[in-house]
């Protein structure tokens, strides 16, 4: 792990309470009976991805029982090949990606029947190149990213019509350089991450006006140093991922003040109980804990594994997929 070379003093900027966050994530995993937990029951697969990827970035993936996680994941796979958010729920493309990502973390992609998963995903591509989330037909560029990222991890991207998928994404490009969820949809950092990530993975970043989008993205940094998701909105730690990874993929991250952002993220920690929240002094959750840690990784905060901005997995995991034996 190369040290960050922009030399600010750790005393000045506070510290990342790694131990506390590991403890927090492991406790959330166990606490299934609070109201907050039950209400999020349906997206436990996403929660597993957020929690486990954070643990891996902190170098602590071995704190969990891999076998338990893996058998629960496989129990969420349906006949159609797709995965549900939790046992009992219907399959959806959202949870299919998270399942595949977690398997990649544990280097267990070989337990999958890849054709089965690929069939589920290719079946969701529409005539115009867009992707539906499930059989009920909701279309959103988030699902385009998911399909492309997932099949790429499984090394079978050519099973979808990539050209059409890319042209649909481009039809969602706005005049401010950003991207929305459907054609005409307002630019939003989350959608921008999805579209830029999908274009990155398909070697199509030349379609992005990097200077125009870069300026829109860098102006997400507000006075407090945090990033918002679109103009005139409040900053939120999760945008430290959506905005930051987009900036990194188009090589414009130097247009924000990295030190100030690091400070903002660290200020969002709950130093007593662990976890990171959307804003300082708000309630923490696994979602923001992941995005805070991943954001710090992108900012080269010392002691963290490097994260890949397009696949949203540790770089060593991605390299293992593409170059490993």
């Amino acid at each position: 792990m190369a040290d960050a070379s922009f030399g600010f003093s750790t005393l000045q900027m506070g510290e990342l309470a790694i131990g506390k966050h590991v403890h927090y994530i492991l406790s959330v995993e166990k606490k299934k009976d609070s109201f907050e937990s039950v209400v999020m029951d349906h997206l436990r697969m996403n929660g597993a991805y957020w929690g486990l990827t954070t643990l891996d970035l902190l170098g602590k993936l071995d704190s969990v029982n891999a076998d338990e996680v893996l058998s629960w994941i496989m129990a969420c796979q349906h006949e159609s090949g797709g995965f549900s958010g939790n046992i009992g729920h219907d399959p959806h493309i959202l949870y299919t990606l998270s399942a595949v990502q977690v398997l990649a973390l544990f280097n267990k992609l070989d337990v999958l029947d890849i054709d089965k998963v690929a069939t589920y995903i290719t079946g969701l591509q529409n005539e115009d190149g867009s992707f539906s989330g499930d059989m009920w037909g909701e279309v959103d560029t988030r699902f385009s990213y998911i399909a492309i990222c997932c099949l790429s991890i499984l090394r079978c991207l050519d099973k979808i019509n990539v050209e059409k998928a890319v042209s649909y994404i481009l039809s969602c490009k706005n005049l401010d350089g950003g991207f929305g969820c459907t054609p005409g949809g307002e630019s939003h950092a989350g959608q921008i991450f999805c579209c830029v990530g999908a274009l990155a993975i398909t070697g199509s970043l030349h379609h992005v006006d990097k200077d125009l989008l870069g300026w829109w993205l860098c102006e997400r940094q507000v006075k407090s140093g945090g990033l918002n998701g679109r103009p005139e909105k409040l900053p939120d730690v999760c945008y430290s991922w959506w905005v930051l990874s987009s900036l990194i993929m188009i090589d414009r991250v130097h247009w924000i003040d990295k030190e100030k952002l690091v400070k903002f993220i660290l200020d969002c920690q709950d130093l007593e109980n662990g976890g990171i929240s959307d804003r300082p002094d708000d309630a923490v959750d696994v979602f923001h804990t992941y995005f805070g840690v991943a954001g710090l990784s992108l900012l080269e905060y010392p002691g963290l594994k490097a994260v890949d901005p397009a696949y949203a997995l540790p770089v060593d995991v991605v390299n293992r997929i593409f170059f490993g034996r």
Binding site: M1, A2, S5, D33, S34, F35, V38, V39, H42, L43, S84, G88, D90, W136, G137, D140, L157, D158, N174, L175, D176, C181, T182, G184, G185, E186, H188, A200, I201, G203, S204, L205, H206, H207, K210, L212, W216, C218, E219, P231, E232, K233, D236, M249, D251, V253, H254, W255, I256, D270, D278, D281, D282, A283, V284, D285, L299, V318, F322, F323
Partner: protein, 696 residues
Amino acid sequence: MHGRPRKAPKPEDEAASAAKAQKLRALQTQFFSFHHDQIYTKEAVELSAKLLEINPESYTAWNYRKLAVEHYLSQSECGPDSVKSVLDDELRVVESALRQNFKSYGAWHHRKWVLSKGHSSINHELRLLDKFQKADSRNFHAWNYRRFVAELMNRSEQDELKYTEDMIYTNFSNYSAWHNRSVLLSALLEKKAEGFLLKENVLPEEYEFIHQAIFTDPDDQSGWFYNLWLLDQTVTTDSPLLVSTWPTCGSDVLIMGDGCQNGSFSPFTTLLSDSGSFPIILYFNQPVEGVNSSTVTIECGFDKNGYLHWEPLSVSNSQAAQVWVAHLKFPTPELDSSVEVRVGHSKGIISTRGFQYCHPSTFSFNVHVQPVERDSFQVSVAESILWREENFKIYRAQLEESIPIASFDQLCIKNGHESTASNWRTEALAKEIECFRELLSLMDCKIGKLTLARLLMAYDAMSIPFATKLVHSEEVLELYNDLMKLDPTHHRYYKDEHSFVLLQKMTSSKESLLQHCFQYKDSVSSVIGNPICLRLNNLSLSRIGAFEKLLWVQMLDLSHNELQSIEGLEAMQLLSCLGLGNNKLRSVTALEPLRKLKSLRVLDISYNQIGDHSIDTTRYLCSSPLSHSVGSELNKDETVISDASLVNYWEAFYMFKDLNLNQLDIVGNTIADEKFKSALVKIMPTLKRLDGKVLD
């Protein structure tokens, strides 16, 4: 998950929460059994409504309700009244869910699904939307739904445009409204709808409108991006233009097979080439497709065939590029001929925005090929280029010597401008400049300075056919200096813009360019000849540009700057020697543009930051399996690195394997240990010198 205050849980809260949780779990368990057993009785469907009221994000319940509706609708006793009542129920459930969470994807989609069954009154939907707009004018779900409804009821774009106007007048700080306005307005302009035929009639009103937003509160970003779009609409011509070429129009080019100097030709137009061909470069103002031997024809004495293979200079597999290159072979080692290049005389060149190239252009030049003198030809390995101050002497140009500064009159590129019509553009810019000068006289604001800088640059760029100097450069540089102080958070954005303007300024006139033209002092190199070396050192450049003016450059010294990117450098097809030492390049992948420089022989990347950073910001801007951009097909064996020892150096493998470097300097980068250097030697068999050491 958002906006909840952090507070320590009190025991009574925890007990209440546990009780709620149990209740919800019981509800869920019961729901699952109905869903999995496909039970759609009234009671079962009611239960799902209860569940969704508490938790509208429980997506499976929305799926279940759709199945229940379909099940009910398929029954024979289902008449039009019962259909209405069933669908009304659904709309009610959605509204109740949206009250809980007006950003619920599941709820909004369910509503669209119900509407697609052909039910509900459009007016009811619009009233609902108005309620949501009042509650949160930035709710993008509501705006998306509005688009959906507008399409369903065939509402005109003009009507929707009026709606955005009303919203903006209610509150200027409504980015969502400005965004929607931009979508509608650009559609109307593109269609040339009635009242929207000419941009010059439409834009002035828009400028007035946006001024109200910006000038009321300059710190509010809502209008900034719309304003930038208006500027782009004012400045950009739809159809692509040819901006620059190499060779330049009217030039006399000497191609040498070896390093023998020929006094009667200018080193500016002398090229060393051992490939039996020389490049022809076309530089457009935007990326285009369709440049081929039908759309670009060559007429010259020595090539009757006239077939040329045109290659787009783009990263990855894109068929579109701003810069295109072809190589014209000369059949005999000695030659004297004129060459005429005709661009776009037949249709086919098209911009990525879909506009045809419609200004047929012609340029011609003379080419003289000098034969190789066998006995003076040396294959010298011992020479190496050392990028030191003392090795360069300034070049003294002859009085009449033609310096290839790209300007329209010199290039003889007849771009059929809308010469009088283009006045509206310069007039609009002049008016804007006046407005923003006025704003700045009243208050010192960031958007004021930034917009003025952009306007002045655009104004100068428009004036180029009539004046070769960029009149406002000094002022623009000052503005960016001010902005770096005024807005330190975005200091490096302004720095990049500053560098860009500085380069434009330095390359805008013969006098300023000559100050940076040198020649290498040592005796003529057989590898590179003795070209002009353009030296742009110690200028704190963080970014480079003005490539359309630098196509002629064979030797470039950019050492001792702050470059972290060399984006765009692929246009400089004549480059054989490049000095990038003492800059801020962060990774091997940042060198990607060099992969297109087939003539590059000498490269200095010493004393950069390659290896210092754990995060690679050009990882997806280079050719690699991660972005499916190696070779021409996805998932093919071309991507496999056969030599196992090179897998750890995959970036260097893809980067250097197709380059034919003779000399490479890499010392002073963390990555350059002995292992890395021996990997490089394996990857580049043609390399003769590495960090000063001669290789065998």
